[in-house]
Point group: C2
Chain length 414, copies 2
């Protein structure tokens, strides 16, 4: 058998057919896809996926947080499981590749191994995780698998949680049982994921694949500057305590600070509002949402304290008060060095041009990595476009990624 599998390749035509069929579920006018988590379209995609799993002679599995898998069992029922997957849900009018391609490639690898009559030492599981994009709760499914989702996460006393609960209920997910989705770490060999890069590094460098070695940590802050409402005409420049001037200075300085000191970091300010929001009143309040990312957790912490200090400095400069409140935080993750090496080895065997790369977006692999060794393969995104109907990856790169994944699986489980 060992002499047989090095020649094994995925069935590219079958994978392409799957890709095209799936892209029709929730297809939008501009060539994009809307399959918001737990929507009719998402449920239709799951059902389509379950049909493909059965058609391939694999076993369908689902869990208490709605994750849906195809299983290729090992001969030994006590064997560990190698999980491979991504997500079928999308952002509104997103692209066809983000998430979907990873689930389809995982399925294709299992199908190929199964039809080649190979009996791996581990159980193989191709998994679709629920709500990666955060329509309701970002990375819901993978957090369920590592035991971080429980009924308490969706307080049913809160009016705002009603639609989420209704959507879960409709999809057959009972929050009372969510904790049972937790898997025993001892039962899992590791996790592998293929995903598009969503940036343009690989495409610009003319590479075939990226091997993710780090996933950025991310911290989000609510920053509110407080000044004093005043008449826009009769209040002199010296008298003004204009909250928006403080906020504008902070936006500019925060970008300068990160650019000058953190070449691997990024910062974004995607939300701003003022009160009382009248064109002839000096703003009394200016609220920002600031998000920053870095692939190194310690450096992320340093960015956090410098940005908070910067906010205070901008407030003082404009005679304002400022409040800063951490809204979200996800630590940076170093992917399993062992799996990085295994993927590198597969890349060499397949003669693909690759490089180690940091991921600047969050992924299920980042969550799985908190519990078991996780590895990730990036496909080049043309022009870096993502969350956009024009998202595109050349098919030859999809094929290379799938074959590198197949080889990695076989290396790990034969």
């Amino acid at each position: 058998m060992a002499s047989k599998w090095p020649e094994l390749r995925i069935n590219s035509e079958r994978l392409l057919k799957d890709f095209e069929q799936l892209a029709e579920i929730g297809a939008t006018v501009g060539g994009g896809v809307s399959r918001l988590a737990l929507s009719n379209e998402d449920l239709a995609a799951r059902s389509w996926f379950a049909d493909r799993v059965e058609e391939a002679g694999l076993k369908v599995r689902d869990d208490e947080v709605g994750n849906l898998s195809g299983l290729l069992p090992a001969a030994d029922p006590a064997a560990k499981t190698l999980m491979i997957g991504s997500h079928l849900d999308t952002v509104p009018n997103g692209g066809r590749y983000d998430g979907a391609i990873g689930v389809l490639i995982a399925l294709e690898c299992l199908r190929r191994i199964n039809e080649a009559g190979i009996k791996p030492r581990c159980c193989l599981e191709a998994i679709n995780f629920t709500d990666e994009e955060g329509t309701w709760k970002s990375l819901f499914g993978s957090n369920g698998v590592i035991g971080k989702i429980s009924a308490a996460d969706i307080d049913d006393a809160l009016q705002e949680n009603m639609p989420f609960r209704a959507a879960l209920y409709r999809a057959g997910i009972m929050m009372e049982e969510a904790q049972n989705a937790r898997r025993d770490p001892q039962s899992i060999l590791g996790y592998l994921e293929v995903h598009i890069e969503q940036g343009k590094t690989l495409h610009d460098k003319g590479l075939d694949l990226g091997i993710v070695d780090r996933i950025v940590g991310r911290t989000t802050y609510n920053v509110v500057f407080y000044g004093e409402a005043a008449h826009a005409g009769t209040t002199t420049a010296d008298e003004r305590r204009d909250a928006l001037q403080g906020a504008a200075a902070f936006i500019i300085s925060a970008h300068k600070l990160v650019r000058a000191n953190y070449p691997e970091g990024v910062v974004n300010c995607g939300h701003v509002s003022v009160k009382p929001e009248s064109f002839n009143v000096v703003p009394a309040e200016a609220s920002l949402r600031v998000e920053f990312r870095h692939p190194d957790t310690e450096t992320l912490k340093e960015m956090e304290s410098r940005l908070a200090r910067l906010a205070r400095d901008c407030a003082v400069d404009h005679r304002l008060r400022v409040s800063t409140e951490r809204a979200l935080h996800r630590a940076a993750e170093r992917m399993s060095g062992y799996l990085v090496k295994q993927i590198e080895c597969a890349c060499r065997a397949e003669a693909v041009k690759c490089m180690p790369i940091a991921s600047y977006s969050g992924h299920n692999a980042q969550i799985m990595n908190q519990m078991v060794p996780a590895g990730m393969i990036f496909l080049p995104s043309v022009g870096g476009l993502s969350h956009n109907p024009r998202e595109f990856t050349e098919w030859r790169h999809v094929e290379l990624g799938a074959n590198v994944l197949l080889r990695t699986i076989l290396q790990l489980t034969m």
Copy 2:
């Protein structure tokens, strides 16, 4: 008779009683007043004012845009009219002085002249103008008097005008007849107004009164920066076309530009919003409302072109497009030099400390000045507070302002 009137003074106690009674109409918990134009409270204040006019033996007059006056007719029915007034409406939870004090002082002057048995050569009219504050349409009443309000201003085909039309109808104002509110300029001698400064120049300088020689012009722009929505994590600083960074740079630079080059000018940015307003998406659009004022019309135009150029420069610096659209414009006004001299003369006679001052807020006097000579007296605002329940003017300054106005009226009409 000429020997009699130089001793004439207003009845300060009666004026104070009026002031306190009026402040109860629409009084708010924090000591402020809410008498939004055409609201029940505004209509109650008009009714109260009409009662005071009749009580004083003056004639009640109203017109087709809801302005309400007390008249002291001249012996000669063909005589011109000297109009004196301000407004009884307020902003939500505004102060007790803004507008109201000017109407009450005008009424008190007419009452005092009437009870002294003085027969002026001109008809005297104490007028309350409709909706100065712009609850519906800023300076509605005075624009009606100069013939700038017609049925076409409130297009009844537009759904958004429905509440305004309903409020007008309820107050007995028929837009079809609004044009008839226009007065013949030949019939008006001039217009005088007493108002609080709403800034703190007079108070800080320890002066009793200000004689308004100019009212600022005001231009409002909608400025929209256009960039490109992109993933907040995977898009590098160099790749970003962040509309909010352009807008923030413009806000900071606009304030610097005006401060450095236009000591008599002010700029305000009181509204900002971004699209798609997601904390993890680079803003594709940032919209600002920018308002700037200057007491000189030519300089205001120069500010306009420099700020527009600045917006283009900020767009280029951040690789954005920008659109600038003039939303509102009101030219600066030079008040009547003759009336300024008459008020100065009255100030000297009353031994009050005064100075010429530019008004940085809009007033009915600015509108009336487009048709007839207009003059304006400012009372010091303690701390410059306005549109605020804590708005306050010392009563001795109210009294001085009223007596200077009375003397000015007598100078002009005896």
